[in-house]
């Protein structure tokens, strides 16, 4: 079986061709890079994806509209809440459904908790890939509290299936609000300690500053989104610039990369933007918990959902950038076509061009700074 991918690698005997993956401690899931290295320096890293392809989009056409909701959790299981909301919003736009205010607030609270949990994992695995194991465990310890809170809210720790078309599945259990506020008070102090432990550590900074710099226009041209885009200095956040749901009611600022310790758009900027975003998310949750309105938690939705023929695209600011659901319906109770656009997909296609001339250790830093998750790429 002539591997087409090998034909692209010129067989000069100088370089060593290395399979960096698919089972490799720092590829964040099952991704393979065919790496041509000359000693420590890379000539090129060609990504070879598809190991986790479950064709979720084909499943979307088989199970009915409500039945697809649990599958959206499996697209990005580290930040599953955003996938739920994206799909729910797309179908609501098709049905021209008005989601009640309380449901919008609950969605924001659940999303922002999930963003903190996802960033804790992203930031934690990055420190582990650079070599410091302890911060990862501190991050996961804080994430455990969030998992318990969301488990009390919707019954599951990672694949939540909390949103429904037209609203949310459950209301806040009693006593949840105080536990959440208590956690947020502790979490804001923890962020300061985390920064002092690892973010400003000289070795950590030297390993990430000025490494794999992605300038702003290149990031936009390649379609980078989310913290990767903001790390390159482009001031764009779907929650603020194309507002949806209850986000216009909350004040929060969008951290962008300013070349904290090196040039704008290097690995450290992408890393530190995630740290600042976590602080903003806890600020949003506090405002949302204070101004939570009374009312229904779901709109009236017919048991058998049959939207009229048409198509709709809904975009959501997920932890890994803008996640868009494009749903085409043909009037039956099954979606005709469901398309999921994810942040990691575009982050992957930039790796090949940015990785020229990096060292092996920097390729690891680049992959973890883009916070790439395998199921999001292959779906």
């Amino acid at each position: 079986m002539d591997k087409l991918i090998l034909r692209r690698v010129d067989q000069s005997n100088e370089e060593m061709i290395l399979n960096f993956g698919p089972q490799h401690p720092s590829t964040h899931g099952v991704i393979n890079f065919l790496v041509e290295t000359d000693g420590e320096v890379l000539k090129r890293a060609i990504p070879d994806v598809g190991y986790l392809h479950r064709s979720i989009e084909k499943i979307g056409e088989i199970v009915g509209y409500p039945g697809f909701m649990p599958y959206t959790d499996r697209v990005d299981y580290v930040a599953a809440m955003f996938a739920n909301e994206g799909y729910a919003m797309a179908v609501e736009r098709l049905l021209k459904l008005e989601v009640p205010a309380r449901a919008q607030w609950l969605r924001v609270i659940a999303n922002e908790f999930c963003r903190i949990a996802s960033h804790l994992v992203g930031v934690g695995t990055m420190t582990m890939d650079i070599g410091a194991f302890t911060p990862f465990l501190h991050g996961v310890r804080e994430r455990e509290v969030i998992n318990d809170l969301i488990e009390a809210l919707c019954g599951a720790r990672m694949t939540y299936n909390y949103h429904r078309i037209g609203g949310v599945a459950f209301d806040l259990p009693e006593g949840w609000r105080d536990k959440a506020l208590a956690f947020l008070d502790h979490f804001d102090k923890f962020l300061g300690e985390f920064d002092r432990l690892i973010s400003f550590n000289e070795i950590f900074v030297k390993r990430l500053a000025n490494v794999a710099v992605i300038p702003g226009p290149m990031a936009v041209n390649y379609g980078l989104v989310g913290p990767n885009l903001r790390g390159s200095g482009v001031d764009w956040d779907v929650r603020r610039d194309m507002p949806y749901g209850a986000y216009p009611n909350f004040k929060f600022d969008v951290p962008i990369g300013k070349g904290f310790f090196g040039t704008t758009g290097d690995c450290f900027d992408r890393y530190y933007v995630r740290c600042l975003e976590m602080a903003q998310s806890s600020r949003i949750i506090r405002q949302a918990l204070e101004t939570l309105p009374e009312g229904e938690i779901s709109a009236k939705v017919p048991r058998n959902i049959k939207p009229e023929a048409g198509e709709a695209l809904a975009r959501v600011e997920s932890a890994r950038g803008e996640m868009a659901y494009y749903v085409v319906s043909d009037g039956t109770n099954k979606a005709y076509r469901v398309r999921v656009r994810t942040g990691s997909f575009s982050a992957m296609c930039i790796i090949e061009d940015v990785s020229r001339g990096l060292m092996v250790a920097d390729l690891v830093a680049l992959i973890s700074s883009l916070d790439v998750i395998a199921p999001e790429i292959d779906r």
């Binding site: 070599g131 410091a132 501190h138 310890r141 502790h186 070795i203 030297k206 390993r207 060292m359 250790a361």
Partner: protein, 461 residues
């Protein structure tokens, strides 16, 4: 796991009394027995003392020819070497256990607590597990070299114990080239790692081997230079000599009696971290980049040997640092004349002498444990350095500063060390500065706890 076992949740996991006693017995008994053996045999390993001991034991030694005596001496040395090596293995096993306990606390985990009290037998369980695993040799690896590599590394580690000064006269061979011999012998370890990297026929191992070669060889230079500073201060290369030239009290240690010696210790410490492949220099077996570096193809017993040497090196590293800079086995209030008095006349020394030897050994072991804990602590805090940064750190920072410190100590010895008060003044000043820094550090640590709203809580060990 049906739910029956769920209901037996014993309160807070009190381990049975028998297990605690067994652990304490093994935990303290095993090293003490080995140390006692080292204690007993090392003085006897001198030919004169051996013959006296045999004579006292009733064997009429006088009839033996010179070669006979020589053979007896060789047997004594071989037994002593075997005991020293097993002492090294037991110590590295305990270092594994200690490091896992300390690192888990630092990561707010619980760590080993199931096998024996506080999980002390875990390292024995690991060793047995590694022995039982299958011994793989990769397909077209260089079989001979692949099998030989661990033994290179083991000899490099074992030979160092010959020159380690455990006590006042507890040293296998008090060579007058002590520190020079140790620096030379530890080079064998890098040969072993290189062979392991090359012969495993895997690209990751090759990477690991090359990185280790670059790292360990280039860090020999700052380590050697920094080791020269105490040698100049004490005027001799022999390990016992260096210790004897230091006093028992901290302000008499080499580290403090010369203002530049603390910088020399820092350089020596960093360079030894690099030579022991410890974080932040664990590039040769970087988990996140090279899967397991030169160790990727090794399994079971060979892997256990590499593992033993890696943790044994911790002990060797801190022992040398303590000998050179922190006054080795010097016991406060007990000067050399006390040892001579306790020695008494006659061939075999009196009981008091043995007691003093044990005391000096305990002081040496305590100081080594302190430095060892710093190495463990550094490992679980700092990230890993990149290959080119590692070289820059060595050639642009450590080597120049080592030269400066070397020349400064030279001038200090020639000009200022003449008048004896300078040593005590510098010692007192430097020691006071060290104490103040330590206090500031502990205040900062207390603030860290209250800053996050936690409170000091030593339960759930």
């Amino acid at each position: 796991m049906n739910s029956k076992t769920q209901d037996l949740c014993a309160g807070s996991g009190k381990t049975a009394r028998g297990v605690v006693l067994a652990t304490l017995a093994v935990g303290f008994g095993l090293p003490l027995v080995l140390l006692a053996a080292v204690l007993l045999l090392s003085p006897l390993s001198k030919p004169a003392m051996l013959m006296a001991a045999l004579g006292a034991a009733g064997v009429n030694v006088s009839g033996w020819s010179v070669t006979g005596q020589y053979v007896a001496w060789i047997v004594a040395i071989a037994v002593l070497a075997l005991i020293l090596l097993s002492f090294g293995a037991v110590i590295s096993g305990m270092t594994v256990w200690w490091e896992m306990r300390v690192s888990s606390r630092m990561q707010s985990r619980v760590g080993y607590n199931r096998v024996g009290a506080a999980g002390f037998f875990q390292w024995i369980a690991d060793a047995v597990k590694l022995l039982l695993k299958e011994d793989l040799v990769p397909a077209d690896a260089d079989a001979l070299l692949f099998r030989a590599a661990p033994y290179f590394v083991l000899t490099g580690f074992g030979l160092v114990f010959v020159a380690l000064p455990f006590g006042e006269s507890l040293i296998a061979a008090d060579m007058n080239v002590g520190i020079f011999y140790i620096t030379a012998v530890t080079a064998l370890i890098v040969v072993g790692i290189l062979i392991a990297g090359w012969s495993s026929n895997s690209k990751w191992a090759l990477f690991g081997g090359m990185r280790s070669a670059a790292q360990v060889i280039s860090y020999e230079i700052p380590s050697g230079l920094a080791a020269m500073v105490p040698v100049m201060m004490s005027g001799t290369l022999s390990m016992q000599g260096i210790i004897r030239s230091q006093g028992a009290w901290p302000w008499e240690w080499h580290a403090f009696t010369n203002p530049f010696a603390l910088a020399a210790f820092a350089i020596f410490f960093v360079a030894q971290l690099a030579e022991g492949n410890r974080t932040p220099f664990d590039l040769p077996e970087a988990e996140s980049e090279l899967v397991a570096g030169y160790l990727s193809e090794y399994s079971s017993f060979r892997f256990a040997l590499f593992f033993l040497v890696e943790f044994g090196n911790l002990w060797v590293m801190s022992a040398i640092a303590v000998t050179l800079f922190f006054g080795g086995w010097q016991v406060p209030f007990v000067g050399p004349e006390a040892f001579a008095a306790a020695r008494g006349v006659g061939d075999l020394p009196g009981a008091a002498w043995w007691g003093l030897q044990i005391l000096s050994m305990l002081v040496f072991v305590a100081k080594t444990l302190v430095v060892l804990n710093v190495v463990v602590w550094v490992r679980w805090t700092l990230p890993r350095i990149r290959v080119d940064q590692m070289m820059t750190l060595c050639w642009k920072y450590l080597v120049p500063i080592a030269f400066v410190v070397f020349v400064a100590t030279l001038l200090w010895q020639m000009l200022i060390a003449r008048l004896p008060v300078s040593a005590t003044v510098s010692g007192a000043v430097m020691f006071a500065a060290a104490v103040v820094t330590a206090l500031l550090f502990f205040r900062q640590t207390r603030q860290n706890i209250s800053a996050v709203g936690d409170r000091v809580d030593f339960t759930n060990w």
